[in-house]
Every structure is written in C-alpha cells, then in structure tokens.
Symmetry: C2
Subunit: 218 residues, 2 copies
C-alpha cells in the first residue's frame, strides 16, 4: 500500500517563468502540526499545493479512520472529496479556488497535461488500495507497507534497512484499515520472527527485506 | 456502491463539429458478449470509448474478482490500469492510442476540461468504493448496491420498484467483494424479510425502499 501520491513535483513545475501569473495568485496558508486542515463538505471548492510539511489524507467514520495518502511538498489535492486533510507537521499550503485553477490550466496545455498525469496517478493509487483491501489480509497489507517504506525511504546499513516512520500504532492501523490492537499483534509477531525490529518510537530495522516479504506466508 | 461511472456522455461531446477530426481517427472494434476485451499489462496504451453494450471493469486475483465499474455507451476508459475489461453484451468500442488522444485534447481546452471532470468522477467513485470496503460490511454493501440500482435504473410500479440487474450471483459477489455463498445467504435473508423479492433470473422487486435500506440494522 503506497502512501506517496505521485512522482510529479508541482512546485518545480510552477516555478517556471510561464506560470509566474498563476504562482502569484496562490494564497499561502499555515497550519500547526496535528491540526485538521479540511474536512469533507468544506464550503469552498479549493485546490491546494503542499509547500512544506506532510498532510495526511484519510477517510473517517465515527471512531474509525483509513489513510488514503500522505501528501508531501509539491503534491496537489482538493477540498472537494469525502476525505479529511490533517497536518502531520507544521504545514504550509498554497491555495486557490478550483474554478480559477481550471481557468489557468486550460490556458496552459503543458500544465493541463501535468494535472491529467497527477489525476491518473491518483486513480492508479486508488486501484492499488482497492486491490489491497479486496485481495490481501491485514498481515500482508502491513508487510507491503513496511516493504514499500523500506525501499522508498529507508536507510540501508550494515544491519539492514532502517526506517523512520514517525507514525503511531493508531496511524499505522489507519493505513492498513485495521484496529490498533490487530496491528500491534502483527508487529509483535514480526519482532518475534526477527523480520522487523523496533528500535524506538516509529523507528524500525528490517534486517532482511526478503524475509519480511515472506513473513505472512510462514 | 455505484457502478455508473460518470454522467458525462463523451459520444455526445465528440459529435460536435469541432471534434470531427478526432472522431474520424477513432478505430471501431467489436467484441462478442462475455469476451475478455483487455487484461492488465496490455501491450498498447489505449483509450477506448464505449459505443454500444456494457463493459465490466474488474480486478482479479486467482479465482477472486472485484468489480470496479460498469461502463455504458459514452463512457471512456483506458487499457493502462491493473483492471480487466469484459464485454457484458455484444460491445462496440472506439479506440485510440492514449498519446494521440492526449495530443488532441491538449489542442481542445473544452475537451481537456471534460476529461479532467471524468478523471475527477472516477477518483470520487474510487473513494466511494474504498469507503465502502473499509467501513461497511457485506450486507450493507449489498443493500447499498440494490438501493442505488433501484433508484437509478428501477421501474417504479404499484408493487414497488422492479430491477432488472442481469447479473449472476457470482457477478453480484464481485460487485461487493465477497463470495457467491455469502451473497446468496444475504439475498435469501432479504427475501425472507420481504425487503427484496426475486422474480426471475436477475429480476428483483423492492416493495419498500426504506425497509430495504434499514434491513442490515435489523
């Protein structure tokens, strides 16, 4: 289950001189760590680009949450979904009404193409989440997540790949669509099997990625 | 769980005189009922517009399937996903390489906007599927599907709303992400509770939509 949305950094693209007019109209907004940035049914239809910090996008029903994505600087998203957006760090956004943004991109075919690619990436990622929810059990989803994070963001060393996830057990549970208790049990199993070693708060060591991959089948 | 993709009919849009050049380049293709049109990893990256018949879009792993959408005339889709496409009727498609299609839409801002709206609708529908998979049990998903179909495609009469789903129990199971056995059991329960009456192959009567909506809570 991937959490990185897309490989396209819109901040880089918008820094091009031809987008100066658009860039100047983006409104900067700041949000402290852990604050709710947008909830579904937000009264304005806005697009926002992350300039600094990470933003968690998640679905919520009563006390249950499910993470759809973690936005990073350069990612774009919209308030016009059924998802919540929460600041994982101190966050800076660049905001614009969707109508106005559409107006600009229709004048700039290159930007229009970028946005279509991003929408395509988002769709592919949604399919990947659906695939995982339908065909995989929690153990496999959790393993996939650790493997993906290890390969994308881990630091390889002598002892294995070190991961700084900066996620609580609750947040990890929301990533794989399960409860904190179930995820804790599986992470403990992984530690007993020595395929994942917890080194600190949110810090894990993967001694052997192939053993981790095969863990749920054993 | 909705199966209709979007309210936009691309065939109507492409019938406008300004798209004559694009329309002329679309390649017609025919597929008999029940044939597999595209599988993931198709060697060409194509877009296709449904001209006639219904196309089922689904994920598949080993012997398990999960339906993402039912395409109808006017809907557009692409081969470049992890989904399968199967002809539910005798199907006619209009096909074009994605690169070429992109080239056209970038020259036509109005079309570009339509495609972005369709991608947005697809994303919203994906979120709706994820929401349903994470937060709802099979009974509620099945109920949501019957209620949606009754309201969208049912024929209201004296005895209630009549539905011609033209789906087997296997296909119904693939819509809600469950097994044929589980879905059969729930449909039998619904019949005993008289909230859904089976009148024939794939034909159902919903005597009272509010009672059907409340069924799983009872």
């Amino acid at each position: 289950m991937k959490t990185r949305l897309t490989s396209i950094n819109l901040l880089d693209e918008l820094a091009q001189p031809e987008f100066a007019e658009l860039f100047a109209e983006l409104i900067p907004r700041s949000y402290p760590k852990s604050s709710l940035i947008y909830a579904p049914g937000h009264d304005r239809d806005l697009v926002f680009i992350v300039r600094q910090g990470r933003v968690r996008i998640y679905l919520s029903l009563e006390d249950k949450e499910f993470s759809l994505a973690t936005l990073e600087p350069g990612d774009i998203y919209t308030t016009h979904t059924r998802a919540h957006a929460m600041a994982m760090d101190n966050v800076e956004l660049l905001v614009m009404p969707t109508e106005k943004f559409f107006h600009y991109i229709l004048k700039h075919p290159a930007l229009s193409r970028t946005i279509m690619s991003i929408l395509g990436d988002l769709l592919k990622q949604s399919f990947s989440i659906i695939d995982s929810l339908v065909f995989k059990d929690i153990c496999q989803r959790l393993t996939d997540f650790f493997v993906y994070e290890a390969l994308q963001n881990g630091q390889a060393g002598q002892a294995g790949i070190r991961l700084n996830l900066d996620l609580t057990m609750e947040q990890l549970a929301a990533v794989v669509g399960s409860s904190r208790q179930t995820v804790s049990t599986i992470v403990n199993d992984m530690q007993h099997a020595k395929v994942l070693l917890k080194e600190g708060r949110g810090v894990y060591l993967v001694p052997n990625i192939e053993m981790l991959k095969a863990h749920c089948q054993s």
